[in-house]
């Protein structure tokens, strides 16, 4: 088997020629695994959820990125796709769901409403102006009203990139 044959994760692992041994940093392997199995929360709050469903269906096939396993419980999820307008009443639920998710957890704000209120920014009493105003940190913003499924896939790929290039948190710093 040629050494430079295309294999998944070829940038982080090195294959010994002829052998069955691969060499990689454990951190990189972990990040690769983390990024390749982002299980999203089934959390469609309004019309962007339709695009999220289309992304999950076979035409666009979110499964090829490893994140097609939509879970019904926040305790089994890695990423929360905030797909839609956040009402004031839903904001509390959103915060609660985010807190229930186990670490490491990521948030994708999908669509203009989840980013900053969107068309409901002005003259609306019942809409939260973006996910971050709730104190929920957002990793990737996917713009659009609503974004196409391709945009959401791109957002997930960006999140995978972000996970892969995340700096290792130093233990010394945590102890301080």
């Amino acid at each position: 088997m040629a050494v430079n044959e295309k294999i998944p994760g070829e940038r982080i692992i090195e294959k010994f020629p002829g052998g069955e041994i691969i060499l990689a940093k454990s951190e990189d392997l972990m990040k690769w695994a983390k990024g390749s199995s982002l299980w999203p929360l089934t959390f469609g709050i309004s019309c962007c959820a339709i695009e999220m469903m289309a992304t999950g269906a076979s035409n666009f096939d979110i499964d090829r990125l490893g994140s097609g396993v939509f879970r019904g419980s926040p305790r089994q999820c890695d990423v929360m796709i905030v797909a839609g307008t956040i009402c004031v009443k839903m904001g509390d639920c959103l915060k609660k769901l985010y807190e229930q998710m186990p670490e490491p957890k990521y948030v994708i704000a999908m669509g203009n409403c989840a980013i900053g209120g969107g068309i409901f920014y002005y003259d609306t009493y019942s809409v939260v102006k973006g996910t971050e105003t709730l104190g929920v940190p957002v990793d990737v913003y996917v713009a659009g009203c609503p974004p196409r499924p391709e945009n959401l896939l791109h957002g997930i790929m960006k999140l995978q990139e972000k996970i892969k290039h995340a700096k290792q948190r130093s233990v010394a710093k945590d102890k301080e």
Partner: protein
């Protein structure tokens, strides 16, 4: 019955208090609401109440009922004025069950209290809110008012 006949029948029954406004719209005093509603339901076959809403006229609130008669194929708009210093009105939810949630919605957004309503709570907004969002004088930290347009320049 023709449309004009339906209206005429209501006006004949309540000659002094009913005022015709727009086509198919009647303005009635608040006190007579329940009597007229009962008459419309029981004697006039208006068995469908499909909209209860309100309009803020700044000096008063205008309560609007849309009633439909399946026998006559006639949609009637019933209006009544509610003064700001006495925001109470008799409920019609005991006549039309559909008015139950519609009246809760009006209470939620305008703060009109419906006397005798079986379950008068806010229907959509958070329970702890104390103000009424569709009033003209509504102010909230969450409400960002759209800036006035400067018009086209140059």
């Amino acid at each position: 019955m023709q449309n004009s006949e339906v209206l005429q029948k209501i006006k004949n029954k309540f000659p002094d208090i009913v005022v015709e406004e727009l086509p198919n719209a009647l303005v009635i005093p608040k006190k007579a609401l329940l009597d007229i509603a009962r008459f419309l339901k029981n004697d006039m076959s208006f068995e469908n109440c499909h909209c209860v809403t309100a309009v803020d006229r700044k000096d008063k609130l205008e309560l609007v009922y849309h009633l439909y008669s399946t026998a006559d194929h006639f949609m009637l708009t019933l209006k009544t004025m509610v003064p700001l210093d006495d925001l109470t009105v008799e409920t019609v939810s005991l006549l039309w069950r559909s008015a139950d949630w519609l009246e809760r919605e009006v209470f939620d957004l305008f703060g009109i209290k419906f006397l005798g309503h079986p379950d008068l709570r806010r229907i959509m907004n958070p329970d702890e809110w104390t103000d009424f969002p569709l009033r003209k004088d509504f102010k909230s930290a969450n409400l960002i008012v759209r800036p006035q347009s400067q018009g086209l320049k140059g």
